[in-house]
Each structure stands twice: as structure tokens, then as C-alpha cells.
């Protein structure tokens, strides 16, 4: 009988091999398909089960935390400071998905990053995500938000030394807590003033005269111009068979210096510089400042708009060449569309002596025990946009703008500010203007760069409407 018993054991062995094979099939071979099955709600449950780490502002202000629900899952709660920076912080809910830092730093916040320091926690199962410290400075954010008030607009402030984004204002903002329910999410998503739309990074505004900074950079880079080069300011200038005038028909001396032209934002001079340089050098300067591409920043890609010249009524970039009115590109008209983030990036780059900053919204990632997992490398470079000498000359010209030109409203007591105003006419009949201000301070040792824009303000100018907001933000940052 023993032979039969042994054979029976072989049969059992075969059955168990079958079981092992089947288990391997579901855990390894077909695991990916099964995990992605539409009926499989485990991935969503997983996000609700592991408490995300907290998000704090750089000054320690709490922005977001996870709260345990009666059913054992976790839900996000956002503070007032997070609501003020809603487009930057974003939201994370099981039913609504994620946005902002919550999205861009999901792996950090859920503790999913698989480097050596988190391997241990992976082995014992993730109990809690990592904490994130944003570069946000709530004081600067509040100054921008208060300055824009109930108008539609956007403002960005960048720490020029680190590339950290200190403020990212887009009005109106929204309460991230609304996304906890589908009804609340619906309310935000269908709001006609589109609060979910990040106007600081996603909206293309005509840059107006702030573009002259880029044109000036191109002029200096060409070697044909220095700050004292005389330029023709005669009005009007014929460009693309249309006469080009100065703002409000202002008249200037026929020959003025490049510095004077920038200080008083003389369209006819800059139009001529554009024509003189031609499309090539202008396009080159724009590309040097990362126009026509997504800026290097940890903001969800769908919120990043590429600044440049767009075919009218489309989202199609067109090249800056003989087919565009280069005189009007040089003064920020034509079909140029730029984001406030782009212009703040330009200002920050000039402030850094022509060195482009690597932008960031998060400065530190801490594990649940408070140890630093990762920190933003202070002032990492994203390449050079212009020479140090050109940047210094341009800084001097922009200081004049604030000292005696169009940007005097941004003056800070005891500190030198470099800046440039812009007043892009978007509807001549109704006198609707997108007023701009870009700049940085202190001019001799920059720490903060800003860009502010308001949307469709009747009779506005950058110097009157945008410069004071920029001033308040810079003051808050210093």
C-alpha cells in the first residue's frame, strides 16, 4: 500500500504546484491588469487610507493636513492660508483628484518615493506620507491678493536667490475644501470667473511694455546698443503699414538714449530697435528667457502655458520671423501672449545677473520623523539668458524706470527697485487695459522678483494700477 500512498502524495504535490502557479498568476503575472481593472477601487482606497503629509508654508504656517474620518480613512483639510494660495497648493480628495502641490508632489506627500531612506517604511507598510514645506510666504501672497482685491488678475513673486516661488496669486481664488464633495467641486469648476484656472501660469496676457525689457536685452546682446546709445523717438513709426504711436500720443525728443526710452516706455524707439535688430535676435532673446517652452517648475503641466506669439484665436505658437510685425513684438503688442510667471522669471533672471533660476514651489520634504528627505538646492541655475554685463546695464536702466519714469509707484523707502511697467491695450474702444509691473528689489543685491498683471481695467496704466501691488509684495518679502 505504501506505493499507493507515495503516489497519492505526488498527486497532492501536483495540486499544490497548481495553487502556487495560480497565486503567482494573480500576484505577479497578471497583477498589473488586475490592479488597473475598472472595478478595482483599491488605488483610491489606498490614497484615502494613508494620511498624506502636511503642507506648510516657508514660515511654518499650516496649509493642509489630513484628518481621520469615522470610517478610518483620511480626508484633507485646508487652512485660510491655503485658500489664499489655492491655485498653488491645490487639493487632494478621493473623489475629485488632485491639483497644485498636492498633485505635483503626490509621491512625496503619500510617501511613495522609493529611495533608501523610505525603504524601511515601505517594508513595514507606509503609515504616513512625508511632510512638505512650500516656498510660499503667506505675507507676500496676502499682499498680492489684497492688492488685486476683487479684480481679475495674477501676481508672482520669486525668491531670486533660491528660485522659490514666494507668492502665486490668481484671482478669484477658491476654497480647496470645496472639492471634498462633488457638489462643492461642481460649484468651483462651473464658476464663470474660473477660479480653478491658474492665471499666473496658465493665462496668456499681452505683455505690453514689459516686453521692452526683453527687447532691451536683445539690443544689448547684439553689441550695437548700450544704455547711452541714441535712438530715434519720432512718432509715428510706420510698422506693417500701420502708424505706431506712443502711449496716449505722447511726444518725445527725436533723439533719446536707450535708457530714457525704457524709462519713459517710448514705443516708437523700441519699435525701431525691433526693426533694426530684426526677428532673429528678438526671437533669440525670447528663447533665452525660456519663451515658447514650459518653464522649469514643479507645477502640474496642464497649468503651464508657453509664452510666445500665437496665431490669433488659437493655441498654436507661431515663430517670430519675417511674418510677424517685429516692431510691435518689440513693444509687447502683435499677438504676443505671456504668463505672469514668465515675466517674473524674466525679472528674476535679470536680478540674478542673467542666470536663470530653477523655479520651485517646495523647498523641503521631511519624513514623518522630521528628517529632511530632500531640500531645494539653493539657487540652482537653469542656464544663462544673458551676459552678466548686459544684465547689470539692464538693471541700471530698470532702476531709472522706478526712480524717475513710469514706475515710481513701486518705490520702496530706503531701497532701490528695478522695474518696468506695461499697459497693454486690449480694447481700444472701451479703453480696457491690462496693466503690468515687473521688477525686483533691492536692485543692488536682489532678493525678490515680482510680476503683477490685472485683466481689462478701464483706463488703467501699469504705473498706477500694478506698480503699487508689486511694491506691497516686495515690501512683504523683504
Amino acid at each position: 500500500m505504501n506505493q499507493g500512498i507515495r503516489r497519492m502524495f505526488v498527486v497532492v504535490l501536483g495540486l499544490f504546484v497548481l495553487l502556487i502557479g495560480a497565486t503567482a498568476r494573480w500576484t505577479v503575472v497578471e497583477a498589473d491588469d488586475v490592479n488597473q481593472n475598472a472595478n478595482n477601487r483599491r488605488p483610491q482606497l489606498e490614497t484615502a487610507r494613508v494620511p498624506r503629509g502636511t503642507i506648510r508654508a516657508s514660515d511654518g504656517t499650516l496649509l493642509a493636513r489630513s484628518v481621520k474620518q469615522p470610517d478610518g480613512t483620511y480626508e484633507r483639510r485646508y487652512t485660510q492660508a491655503a485658500e489664499e494660495a489655492s491655485q498653488l497648493v491645490g487639493y487632494a480628495f478621493t473623489n475629485s483628484g488632485t491639483d497644485g502641490i498636492e498633485k505635483a508632489h503626490r509621491d512625496d506627500l503619500t510617501g511613495k518615493v522609493s529611495d533608501a531612506s523610505t525603504l524601511l517604511s515601505a517594508l513595514r507598510g507606509n503609515e504616513r506620507g512625508n511632510d512638505v514645506v512650500a516656498t510660499l510666504d503667506p505675507k507676500v501672497q496676502r499682499a498680492g491678493l489684497a492688492g488685486i482685491g476683487n479684480r481679475t488678475g495674477a501676481a508672482v513673486a520669486i525668491d531670486t536667490r533660491t528660485g522659490g516661488i514666494l507668492a502665486l496669486v490668481s484671482t478669484p481664488n477658491y476654497d480647496p475644501n470645496d472639492f471634498a464633495t462633488s457638489k462643492g467641486a461642481e460649484k468651483v469648476l462651473t464658476d464663470p470667473r474660473s477660479p480653478i484656472y491658474n492665471k499666473a501660469t496658465q493665462a496668456g496676457f499681452p505683455p505690453g511694455s514689459t516686453m521692452k525689457v526683453v527687447t532691451a536685452a536683445a539690443a544689448l546682446a547684439s553689441g550695437k546698443y548700450d544704455p547711452n546709445t541714441l535712438v530715434d523717438a519720432t512718432a509715428p513709426l510706420m510698422a506693417a503699414s500701420q502708424p505706431l504711436f506712443n502711449f496716449h500720443g505722447e511726444k518725445f525728443d527725436p533723439k533719446i538714449t536707450l535708457t530714457y526710452a525704457l524709462t519713459h516706455s517710448v514705443n516708437t524707439s523700441f519699435g525701431r530697435i525691433g526693426q533694426d535688430l530684426g526677428p532673429g535676435p528678438i526671437a533669440e532673446a525670447m528663447k533665452a528667457f525660456d519663451f515658447e517652452e514650459q518653464l522649469p517648475v514643479d507645477i502640474p503641466k496642464e497649468h503651464l502655458f508657453e509664452s510666445g506669439v500665437y496665431a490669433r484665436g488659437t493655441n498654436r505658437l507661431i515663430p517670430v520671423d519675417e511674418n510677424v510685425d517685429i516692431a510691435r513684438v518689440a513693444i509687447g503688442q502683435e499677438r504676443l501672449r505671456v504668463t505672469p510667471l514668465q515675466m517674473a522669471f524674466v525679472a528674476a533672471t535679470i536680478a540674478r545677473g542673467g542666470d536663470k533660476p530653477r523655479l520651485a514651489t517646495v523647498q523641503q520634504v521631511l519624513d514623518p520623523d522630521g528628517r529632511t528627505v530632500r531640500s531645494l538646492g539653493g539657487g540652482k541655475s537653469a542656464g544663462r539668458a544673458m551676459s552678466r554685463r548686459d544684465a547689470a546695464e539692464l538693471t541700471g536702466m530698470m532702476q531709472k524706470v522706478v526712480e524717475e519714469g513710469t514706475g515710481t509707484a513701486s518705490k520702496l523707502a530706503g531701497l532701490s527697485v528695478a522695474g518696468k511697467t506695461g499697459s497693454a491695450e486690449v480694447d481700444v474702444q472701451k479703453d480696457l487695459v491690462d496693466p503690468w509691473f515687473i521688477g525686483f528689489a533691492p536692485a543692488d543685491n536682489p532678493r525678490v522678483a515680482v510680476a503683477v498683471v490685472l485683466n481689462r481695467i478701464q483706463g488703467a496704466t501699469g504705473g498706477v494700477d500694478a506698480a503699487p501691488i508689486a511694491r506691497a509684495m516686495m515690501q512683504a518679502a523683504l
Binding site: 499507493g4 500512498i5 502524495f9 495553487l19 494573480w26 497583477a31 481593472n37 472595478n39 482606497l45 507598510g125
Partner: protein
């Protein structure tokens, strides 16, 4: 002798470690929300295992020393997983463990002189087995779930008679075959020249009939596989003729086909087995594939190494005893939960322990001296292996799903008690076999009757 066995306490170290590490990781994962006092269940459990070990040492000094420690590992693994679902389940399991050990001890003491008396009670055992199987259909105590009649409800206690019936069946078959195996082998001149006379086959046909009846009446595919499988295995072991299992399997196929054609419950079950992810079957409120699909989701979530003990997603509702998202995580689907937590690697370990137990069981059968003992041991080992195959195979989509318990791991009173009795019987056979072997050796050396 006793000292040697007490030294075997070392074999319990793996279980002790498992409980310690298991409870520690579950506690760590729960973030300290479970009371530290609940660790007492772990300690109590280990104490019970030690008590069982001492009882075995005293009563059955020659029994296989590995079986109990292996079972202890299983039980501890089950306890950790149940504790992971909910503390109250671990408490319940520890309580049932006490009852199981009482049953275990009672079995050993009742049969310690000679368990072979059971051979004379086979008709009683057969009757008891049939009654147990039909019990779930009796009005008043029947408790149908998902169209299958698997358990009886006596007041608050749910009891799966299948668990005890399998022991009755094995003992009956072992007894019958031990008495008649010579005839079944030698009298090969039946009506077709190969088959033995009908009167010797009759009881076996009766078993087949009973199994089929069970399928029709209780609609329990898994139990049918277990019973019929062990029947065929013992018939083969007793006679050494492949013809019996081949003929038996064909008859089973015919019966299963007939059942499939006539029973919509079975058709549903087969459809859910073939297409667990089909939307219409998944959404079906009763008799659909929701459970199986959730079991597969849990296993896929586990992957190679699992989410860690206490790391899987399971919420327990004390009022209904239900679990989410994996249903029946404490009993039928505990294998899926285990795979979720310890992955393919851990599941391999678990299956290996089962295989070791089955191997020790078959080993006991090979060293046993008389055919009844051999058949009892082989039958118990086979039915144990088949039970694991039926539930793990069901959860991993090898065969259509049937709700039987994973022995010693699933929560469930009747299963623990029945399997402890199974263990007691195996150890009784083992003890007798080794003692007889030693006696033979002593006699051969001329040292008998010392």
C-alpha cells in the same frame, strides 16, 4: 522519554516568533490604535499551544513530533491575520482554540488504548456522516448562503457539519476498505471480466451516490470534490488499481455535468469562475463574481512581497461581521488577505507548511503497521490536502469557488474543532505506528518483554 519530548518545545519557537513579529507589525501599522492589552491574546494562544504540546508529550510519547508545531505555525498565522482584521476575531479564535484543544485531548484520551476500535463502528460513523451532511437542509436550523447550504445555525452558533462529516467519511472508508481490499483486488471476475463482484462495489457506489446527492441537495461543489477525492484516493491506495480512480472520475464528471445542466446555482458559479471580471456578473447582487473578483484584486495588490502584516486595506463591521473591500476575509477569503499582506512569497511559505503537514500525514501512513491505520492516516492527510486545494483553488480561480475554511487559519469554530480531532487521530496512528516499530526492533534484538 518525556525529557526528549519536552526538548521538542524548541519546535514551537517558529510559532512564538510568528506571533510576536506578527502582532508587533500589526500594532505598528495600526499606529498604536490597538490596545497593547490585546497582545494578551497572543500570549494566551501560545500558552494553549504549549498545553497541547505537554498533553501530547504525556499521552502520546511516540507520536510524530513535527505535526503539532507545524499546525501551531498555521494557527498562529491565522491568529495574526484575524487580529489584523479585528481584535474581537482574535479573541473568538483563541476561545475556539481552547474548545479545539479540549476536543483534541478528549479524542486522545478516549482512544489512547487503541483507536482501532473505531473500525468496528463504521456503520454508526457512516450514518452520523450522512446525518451531518443533511443537517443544513433540515428546516429550522438550515442557513443558506449564496444558494449553498453549508452551515446550520443552532441559536447563535453557526456550525459547518461538513467539517466533522469528513472525519466520519474517512474512518468509514478506511474501515470498509481495510476489511474488503483483498476481495476488491483478487475477485477480478465480474460481469465485465475486470470489475469485482457488484456486492463489494456496492458500498463504494453508495459513497458516490451520497456525494452526488450531496451536490444536488446541498449544492456544495467543494465538499463533493473533497469527499469524492478522498474516496477515490483511498480506493486506489487500498487496491493499487488505477482503474478505480479513473472510473470514479468519469462517473464524477457525468454527475457534475448533469448537475450543471439542471442547477442554475451551479451554472452561475461556473460562469462567475470563468469570467470573474465580466461587468454583468460582477454587478449581480446574488451568485455573481463580486467576491471572486475582490479576492483577485486583493491578491494583485499583494504582489510579490505583499503590503506587510497589517498593511492591507480591510475594514471590519462588527455588527454584520462583514469586511470591506474584500468580503469574507476572516474565513473563505483569508487566503486572499494573506496574499495581500505577505505576497506570493508568504503564500508560498503557507502552502509549504500545509504540504509539510500532508507529507508528515502520509509518512505516518507509510510507517503504520496495519491497513486500517494506513488508510486512516492517508485518508486524513488527503482530505486535509483537498480542503486546502478546494478553498485556495477557489480563491485563486483554479476551480469554482466553494466556501470551505482554510484549516487552522480561517476563523470558525467547527473547522478548528474538527481539524484538531483530525490531528489527534493522526497523532494516535503515529504514536501506535512508532511504538509498534520500536517493539518490532526490540523483539528482533531479542530484547522483547524487558
Amino acid at each position: 522519554m518525556i525529557f526528549r519530548r519536552l526538548r521538542d518545545f524548541g519546535l514551537l519557537i517558529p510559532s512564538a516568533l510568528l506571533v510576536a513579529i506578527g502582532f508587533a507589525s500589526v500594532l505598528a501599522n495600526a499606529g498604536g490604535e490597538l490596545g497593547n492589552t490585546s497582545l494578551i491574546y497572543g500570549a494566551v494562544f501560545l500558552g494553549l499551544v504549549a498545553v497541547a504540546h505537554v498533553i501530547t508529550t504525556i499521552a502520546l510519547p511516540d507520536a510524530d513530533p513535527y505535526l503539532l508545531p507545524l499546525i501551531a505555525v498555521l494557527a498562529c498565522f491565522g491568529l495574526v491575520e484575524l487580529y489584523r482584521i479585528d481584535e474581537s476575531l482574535a479573541r473568538g479564535q483563541a476561545t475556539w482554540f481552547v474548545i479545539g484543544i479540549v476536543g483534541y485531548t478528549a479524542t486522545i484520551y478516549a482512544l489512547r488504548k487503541d483507536y482501532r476500535v473505531l473500525r468496528d463502528y463504521r456503520n454508526v460513523l457512516a450514518l452520523a456522516g450522512v446525518l451531518l451532511l443533511l443537517a443544513p437542509r433540515l428546516p429550522g436550523i438550515s442557513n443558506p448562503e449564496n444558494g449553498a447550504y453549508l452551515s446550520v445555525a443552532l441559536g447563535p452558533i453557526r456550525f459547518q457539519p461538513t467539517e466533522l462529516a469528513k472525519l466520519c467519511l474517512v474512518l468509514y472508508l478506511a474501515s470498509y476498505l481495510a476489511d474488503n481490499r483483498q476481495l476488491l483486488v483478487q475477485e477480478a471476475r465480474g460481469p465485465f471480466g475486470v470489475l469485482p463482484p457488484l456486492k463489494y462495489l456496492l458500498p463504494l457506489l453508495a459513497v458516490w451516490g451520497a456525494t452526488m446527492l450531496m451536490l444536488f441537495v446541498i449544492q456544495d461543489v467543494g465538499s463533493a470534490i473533497m469527499y469524492f477525492g478522498v474516496g477515490l484516493a483511498l480506493l486506489y491506495i487500498a487496491t493499487g488499481r488505477l482503474l478505480y480512480p479513473v472510473a470514479g472520475l468519469s462517473m464524477f464528471m457525468v454527475g457534475a455535468r448533469l448537475l450543471y445542466e439542471t442547477r442554475p446555482t451551479i451554472q452561475n458559479r461556473v460562469a462567475a469562475w470563468q469570467h470573474p471580471f465580466a461587468q454583468d456578473l460582477y454587478d449581480k447582487p446574488v451568485g455573481g463574481s463580486y467576491q471572486l473578483a475582490q479576492g483577485l484584486f486583493a491578491q494583485a495588490d499583494g504582489g510579490m512581497l505583499g503590503q506587510g502584516l497589517g498593511g492591507s486595506i480591510v475594514t471590519y463591521t462588527a455588527e454584520t461581521g462583514g469586511t470591506y473591500p474584500l468580503p469574507a476575509a476572516k474565513n473563505d477569503f483569508i487566503y486572499a488577505l494573506i496574499v495581500n499582506e505577505v505576497g506570493l512569497v508568504g503564500a508560498l511559505g503557507l502552502l509549504l507548511i500545509y504540504l509539510l503537514i500532508v507529507w508528515r500525514g502520509f509518512k505516518v501512513a507509510t510507517v503504520a503497521h496495519d491497513s486500517f491505520s494506513k488508510l486512516v492516516a492517508a485518508g486524513l492527510a488527503t482530505v486535509f490536502a483537498l480542503q486546502v486545494f478546494v478553498i485556495v483553488g477557489g480563491v485563486t480561480k483554479v476551480i469554482p469557488l466553494t466556501g470551505v475554511t482554510l484549516p487552522f487559519v480561517s476563523s470558525g469554530g467547527s473547522s478548528i474543532v474538527a481539524n484538531f480531532i483530525l490531528l489527534a487521530l493522526l497523532l494516535l496512528v503515529s504514536d501506535r505506528a512508532r511504538r509498534d516499530t520500536r517493539a518490532d526492533l526490540d523483539r528482533a534484538k531479542g530484547g522483547a518483554w524487558r
